[in-house]
């Protein structure tokens, strides 16, 4: 049995009364012993080869470093060590028995063998015990082909069975963990990786083990779904087919799939993904390890929203005739746009372009160039208040980027969240905060709407007043923050959209400037803006913002590029509207002409994440029907609008991006803003917002339904199921306990 999480730090009596048994107690505090600071290196011999590893490494890591493969089931380098499968046995000199290498610290000078008859026999024995209760249902098991048990039994197992138990194999009842994770608990080998992941990383403290010995089973004891936005990762972690993907069940075998390395666009983290496709369709999305971004995890929207790519797609150009859309050829559609443009009589700033959440960098650059060529500066973003330039302006990158970097979050020892619930806005990043909260003495404070964040926080208020109090150093938390070594302020993207945004930015910018000795140093920049939309950082980088004059002009020609969150009321009745995008969502309904673009899995484009890290997505499948890559559509249209763009291939387009900002094409690296520039940026920010008034409206969470935030996830059936199960709690209200899932308390 596993005893992982939540020993409590002495909690106040008031907390005690607030706790209900229904929710996991985040009031309770970390339990894992924190890892000691790394001391020197040690040297040992593995299979006659000398290796040097950092002190404190597990023996399995040392073996790995020596190039010896050690089979394993329970060990996972991002989870706590359990040592319960015994598959990793190795022989150590002067040890009477084989040793579980994952649970054994590497000792200086020890001699280890990984390939002796004793080891072989031990592995074979362990394998036999594991298989004695494992069903032989590989042909109907979705894990087949990527199953650790299958692979390792082929390699290390016996070639015949001695299993003749009259009573049959152990039978365990399947658990219902919700619409994402399918369980087949007979197959479970009780490695407890899923339990450790749920408790340590995802913060689902309801998953555990019940019973003991041979009867041990994984589950929640009471009937309950696994309500976490990271739950899909247990599917990857499960070494056998006990936890598999429900939406993907029986759809494909791993060896039929083509793997394409790409980047996720469901949030602004830019998680690295591998898109697995067969023929023309995306079959599933898997995470790709990248320690600088998503470690090894992705959130459930990233993983499961891919079925939305199949529904509601725009596959041919459409022209509105009366109240219906008629499909047209590209030629007709583009001509119709050009005619509409001329007929609308739009001049200068009356030509408006709106860049939406899923617009890629290349197409935004092309669209900006086109609109500028046509004489307009009216470049709008698809967000609340996106028609005006953002309060933080776009001149200094550090004013709108996540300067602390995603791995940097783990170094912070005090975090203030302003108007953000990172759990929904950047789930993978949130898991890092949780990790740090569990293992270190990190303190978190929250200003904004209360939320279940998966770690405890001090609640400081809901509005700009709370920010003012914090800045004035009035609260206890503010004092702690002042004394922290690496304090971090995370400003949610919703603050930019809030009427009090300027006031908040003003207060924070001044505060950061005042405390620059802690907050802005060459090693640490503790002022971080957390974007939640994949295209936003790139849009700011390319300067996709209107001039002051343009933002007050009433548009006559509107070009919606993937813009599906627009307020229909903001579009004048007589304006001519073009929608370019891949889904028939809100934007397409407003359009006079729809131009079908490609979704993120269908084009190899650049995405800039919230840290300002440019990453290249890659096309896994061709765009469906007549749809085309987005920048090409804009390039073709520019000819008809009489302002041809000077690039004919994507490489020259990227040259143009280089001209705008080299960071856009320096892939996978981060360009840190220097201290001087960052401070200058804050100064301008403070000056520009000096006259801001406070309305006192509370900050609200920008994402109320994590599972449906963009046209792809809104078209996804799986995400609709998730919404029903987790957000509305329908169908899954088994036990009294399950319903109150989002109870928030600090």
């Amino acid at each position: 049995m596993l005893r992982l999480v939540s020993a409590s730090k002495p909690a106040s009596a008031s907390i005690l009364t607030k706790v209900t048994p229904s929710s996991s107690s985040f009031t309770g505090r970390r339990t894992f012993a924190s890892t000691s600071a790394r001391q020197g290196d040690i040297t040992l011999t593995v299979d006659g080869k000398e290796v040097t590893v950092p002190q404190g490494s597990a023996l399995i890591q040392a073996c790995e470093a020596a190039g010896a493969t050690i089979p394993r089931f329970c060990y996972h380098d991002r989870l706590a060590i359990a040592g319960n499968c015994r598959m990793c046995l190795v022989e150590v000199e002067r040890s009477p028995k084989p040793v579980a290498s994952c649970a054994m610290p590497a000792m200086p000078g020890s001699k280890v063998w990984t390939n002796t008859p004793l080891v072989h026999e031990a592995r074979e024995g362990v394998m036999e015990f594991l298989l004695s209760n494992h069903p032989l249902d590989c042909p109907i098991c979705d894990q087949g082909g990527e199953c650790d048990l299958q692979d390792q039994s082929m390699r290390y197992g016996a070639d015949r069975t001695r299993f003749h138990e009259i009573a049959g194999k152990r039978a365990v009842e399947d658990k219902d963990l919700g619409p994402l994770v399918k369980t087949s608990m007979n197959r479970c080998i009780q490695c407890t990786r899923c339990v450790r992941f749920a408790n340590e990383v995802a913060g689902v403290e309801e998953l555990g083990t019940t019973g003991r010995g041979n009867d041990l089973q994984i589950g929640m004891y009471v009937e309950k779904t696994m309500n976490s936005e990271l739950s899909g990762n247990v599917i990857d972690l499960c070494p056998v087919g006990a936890l598999t993907s429900k939406p993907y069940a029986f759809h494909a075998r791993p060896w039929e799939l083509k793997h394409t390395d790409s980047v996720d666009v469901m949030d602004a983290v830019g998680s690295n993904i591998r898109v697995d496709s067969r023929g023309l369709s995306v079959m599933r999305v898997q995470p790709r390890p990248n320690d600088d971004v998503n470690e090894e995890w992705i959130n459930d929207k990233t993983r499961f929203a891919y079925d939305g790519l199949r529904f509601q797609r725009l596959t041919t150009p459409l022209i509105k005739q009366g109240d219906r859309f008629v499909s047209a050829s590209w030629e007709d559609a583009l001509t119709a746009v050009a005619e509409g443009f001329r007929a609308s009589g739009a001049q200068d700033d009356e030509i408006q372009a709106v860049a939406g959440h899923l617009a890629d960098t290349e197409s935004m650059v092309a669209l900006k160039d086109l609109i500028n060529h046509l004489g307009s500066d009216n470049l709008t973003l698809d967000s609340v208040g996106g028609h005006a330039a953002p309060v933080h302006a776009v001149d200094v990158r550090s004013n709108y980027l996540f300067n602390a970097t995603i791995p940097g979050v783990e170094q912070a020892d005090c975090i203030l969240l302003v108007g953000s619930n990172p759990r929904h806005e950047a789930a993978v990043l949130n898991s890092r905060i949780r990790k740090s909260w569990l293992h270190t003495t990190l303190e978190v404070g929250l200003i904004g709407e209360r939320a279940d964040t998966a770690y405890g926080y001090e609640y400081l208020g809901a509005d700009a007043k709370a920010v003012a109090d914090f800045v004035a150093g009035k609260t206890d938390f503010a004092k702690k923050f002042m004394n922290a070594k690496k304090p971090l302020i995370i400003v949610g993207s919703a603050i930019t959209e809030h009427p009090d945004g300027p006031a908040v930015y003003n207060a924070l910018a001044k505060y950061v400037e005042k405390n620059k000795s802690q907050l802005v140093t060459p090693e640490w920049n503790g002022f971080a803006v957390l974007q939640r939309v994949a295209s936003r950082a790139a849009a700011y980088d390319v300067g996709f913002v209107p001039s002051r004059k343009a933002s007050q002009t009433k548009p006559k020609f509107i070009y919606l590029l993937n813009a599906d969150e627009v307020d229909p009321k903001s579009i004048p009745r007589d304006a001519f509207v073009v929608y370019q995008g891949h889904h028939g969502d809100l934007g397409a309904q407003l359009a006079d002409v729809c131009l079908p673009g490609a979704a993120y899995t269908e084009k190899g484009m650049t995405w800039v994440n919230t840290e300002g890290r440019a990453q290249m997505g890659r096309a896994a499948v061709p765009p469906p029907g007549a749809s085309r890559e987005d920048w090409k559509i804009i390039r073709a249209l520019s000819e008809l609008l009489g302002a041809p763009l000077p690039y004919d291939d994507v490489l020259s387009l990227r040259d143009r991006m280089w001209e705008i900002s080299p960071t856009l094409v320096r892939y996978d690296t981060l360009e840190h803003t220097s201290v001087d520039v960052a401070l200058a940026g804050l100064k301008t920010l403070a000056a520009a917002t000096a006259s801001a008034k406070v309305s006192g409206a509370p900050f609200v969470k920008p994402i109320s339904n994590f599972y449906q935030t963009d046209p792809i996830s809104r078209a996804s059936v799986t995400m609709a199921h998730c919404t029903r199960a987790f957000v509305k709690g329908e169908n899954y209200g088994f036990s009294e306990l399950s319903s109150k899932s989002e109870a928030a308390y600090a």
Binding site: S24, E206, G208, G211, V222
Partner: protein, 245 residues
């Protein structure tokens, strides 16, 4: 509540014929998942009474405040005693709340230890040991006697009147006085079918027979009589200089 449950016949599988998918024999005293029933669901309130709350606080105070959860086992036991000998889901939830730990961590403990009964039991809880030493000394005769005495119930069952629950348990650490059974908190040792019956009858009448060996021997002395240390042990002062006598 209890009666409602007891009156419901539990379907039993016919003796093991091997079928395509036969589940292995029942291994433990209960399921390792919880299902809401009329007598066991989280809506049924449970709270320590004043006495127990005081004891609970006393127990909690033994542990450092950040490791309050270490008190989970004694508190579950306390809860089980207050809740008529069984640990309902409400008991577990209450203790989770009291110790500020996720309920699942309490469920894990309660399902790990077989001495936490997660189903209601009768007024008297009879546990017959059938581990090897007891078995060699006739534990199955004792078990059969108990079962037949209660009208042929099976281990794990409760009598119709809700007075007795019988289960088979593993070694209780009283092997030197095998065979033995535990009734409620007391050990009854050196049993024969006859003495077993006597003990049970006494309990049925509401009395409490004297615990310990039922054969008349003292503790676990040799049943054939002492072979060593037979003489009177000498007391203080004996064999000493007269002035010390």
């Amino acid at each position: 509540m209890l009666a409602a449950r007891l009156s419901k016949p539990v379907p039993r599988l016919p003796p093991s014929v091997r079928r395509i998918s036969s589940s292995s024999s029942r291994r433990s005293d209960a399921l390792f998942v919880h299902r809401d029933t009329t007598y066991n669901n989280p809506k049924i309130p449970f709270e320590f009474n004043a006495d127990n709350l005081k004891r609970a606080q006393e127990i909690i105070s033994h542990y450092p405040p950040q490791y309050k959860k270490a008190a989970v086992i004694p508190l579950l036991d306390l809860g089980q005693r207050q809740n008529k000998g069984w640990t309902s889901i409400s008991v577990m939830n209450y203790i989770a709340k009291l110790l500020e730990m996720p309920p699942m961590r309490v469920y894990e403990v309660a399902t790990f230890y077989t001495m936490f009964n997660r189903e209601p039991i009768g007024e008297n809880f009879v546990q017959v040991c059938t581990t090897t030493p007891c078995m060699l000394r006739g534990a199955y005769d004792v078990l059969d006697t108990v079962c037949n005495h209660f009208g042929g119930i099976k281990p794990g069952d409760t009598t119709k009147d809700g007075k007795f629950t019988v289960i088979e348990v593993e070694c209780q650490g009283a092997c030197s006085n095998a065979p033995m059974m535990v009734v409620n908190d007391d050990f009854y040792e050196d049993l024969t079918p006859e003495t077993t019956k006597k003990v049970l009858e006494a309990f049925a009448k509401g009395q409490k027979p004297k615990p310990g060996p039922q054969s008349g021997r003292r503790t676990s002395e040799n049943s054939a009589g002492l072979t060593a240390l037979t003489s009177k042990p000498y007391g203080p002062g004996e064999f000493c200089q007269p002035e010390f006598q």
